[in-house]
Symmetry: C2
Subunit: 333 residues, 2 copies
């Protein structure tokens, strides 16, 4: 559990895209972001107040979050100066970088000396149990995709926002590094040892109030041969009551697999639903989220309508339209 | 890769069942077993020559394999004396125990001093790649089960023996600790990090001669919610040309999951085959292996015939009948 709120470290981000983790935090959990810390040469700007460490501390920030992809996979000396000082000023550090904070001897030593915590959210910090498959109270929804990176996390976060707006009880449950940094908690599922994958998701989505919804962040795809096992563990550990099908219509092949075509939404439904019903016989597919980022407005509208008619399910682009109709579908379940 | 042949360490095994790893090595790779080492109080006997370390060394043994489940999860002082001496005499040690050899400071220190290797086969020793899904040359067969522990490893080993007897080119590819100790090599799949599961199986079953068969040891079950993700990674990483369905007919519920019924063989076929065809569109179900251990001879025969008629596939109990008919089915593929 990462202590909130955060000061978002943008470092020397070469452009706005390099700061997309910070952008996600600001967009989805603005209360978690008291300000941004930018170094000389930083070309990203979240529109938050620029703060130095002392100001951020005074504003209540407890963790400095590295919200930027670094250049060359190395934590530079220029960054180090800020990170060390942050530890000395009483901040924890949190990062989703491949190169771990804990592997930097200076950061490790200073953190220990100052009694501060280094959170490398790519690395599991919990001994997860083996899944026991027992039915849990409360409700769960999971987005499953025709491919990786088709907008499952965005769908889940938009759904969480739409449900809260309707007054429904919901929790976004992060299963990847960006989601974990956004919410401060979660399971880095792709780094969990095979035997404990499903158990980690049971742990993440425990018994809850009967009308509470866990919105579980999806990972991979049943049709992506590199990561399909992770997806099935998520389906069986999450035992969802509802599935949302996610798709990106303009993709020429499965991400990173030029020899593999994307499945149809029908194939995804017919594969995912019977597997989900092994763990939860009452599971239903309730809606479809389409990532129309690479389509014009008219083309997107046409595609959404055609898909909705064909599949007989509420079909939205949560980025263009929000996820109200998906929340509505869950409310009536 | 564990150096063969082995001296099989039975320690103070309370009964024959406790020595089942050693029994598996002796049954399936008799050439790997030059002798057995029994301590006072050992009640197991593999029918191999009893040897002390010097005799085994002279007979060519290179690794002392702990072929016995230890009591209480601790490597006892009585064992230690033998293990330390073995290292000093130039043996490597290999073990599938939960408590690792490398976590014993004395064994670690002596192994380092003597330049010998400690193999804990529960722990991956390779940095596996992420799966790339590219089609590989050679052929592959995988047993998938209605449940865990229904005889998939036994089926694979029996099939390997039957294929070799027919003069077919085949390799048993171990994916669990017992299989790894039997053959000296393999992937401890349940201990691999999620993102690398499918890649580890691609690594295990690389390009091969067009008529060579990799017989991949199955794990878990698509219907076992604790481990289904491991099974799907095996199917997509292995990209099998042929599946064998494995079943144990007398089981009242899924192993360790009292609330879960076993699926039918039809459900297993209809779930596993479409998923396998994502990675290998030519995949076929070629046969069925039934574990009739808990049935009388007549009942078993009836069950096998009824299943064969119903499913239209060669159906055998490899323990009672061998796997010749499964090998035949593969030969005609």
């Amino acid at each position: 559990m990462i202590q909130t709120p955060y000061l978002l470290f943008l470092g020397d981000a070469p452009d706005q895209l390099a700061a997309k983790v910070a952008q996600g935090i600001k967009d989805w959990r603005p209360d978690n972001a008291v300000g941004q810390f930018r170094m000389e040469g930083c070309n990203a700007d979240l529109g938050l107040k620029d703060m130095d460490l002392a100001k951020a501390k005074a504003a209540g920030a407890r963790t400095l979050v590295i919200g930027v992809a670094n250049r060359g996979g190395v934590i530079s000396q220029a960054w180090k100066k800020v990170l060390v000082q942050a530890l000395e000023e009483g901040f924890d550090l949190a990062s989703g970088l491949h190169n771990l904070l804990r592997d930097e001897p200076d950061l490790l030593a200073v953190a220990e000396a100052c009694g501060q915590t280094l959170h490398d959210v790519r690395v599991p910090e919990v001994d997860y149990p083996i899944a026991n498959g027992k039915r849990r109270t409360g409700k769960r929804v999971l987005a499953v995709g025709t491919d990786c990176s088709v907008g499952k996390m965005y769908t889940a976060l938009a759904l969480d926002a739409a449900m809260k707006k309707r007054g429904m009880a919901s929790s976004f449950r992060a299963t990847g590094q960006t989601g974990i940094l956004i919410t401060g908690d979660g399971v880095p599922l792709d780094a969990v040892v095979a035997d404990f994958m499903a158990g980690s998701i049971e742990w993440l989505t425990p018994d809850n109030d009967p009308d509470h919804w866990d919105i579980i962040e999806g990972q991979g795809s049943l049709f992506h041969v590199s990561y399909s096992g992770v997806t099935l563990a998520l389906i069986h550990g999450g035992q969802p009551d509802a599935l949302i099908l996610s798709h990106e219509p303009t993709r020429a092949h499965m991400r990173g697999l030029p020899e593999y075509d994307l499945p149809t939404l029908e194939a995804l439904r017919d594969t995912a639903l019977p597997l989900a019903r092994v763990a939860n016989p009452g599971c239903e597919v309730v809606g479809i989220s389409i990532n129309t980022h690479h389509m014009g407005a008219a083309e997107a509208e046409r595609y959404l309508k055609e898909t909705e008619d064909r599949m007989g399910l509420p079909t939205v682009d949560p980025f263009r339209q929000g996820a109200d109709r998906l929340a509505e579908a869950l409310a009536s379940l």
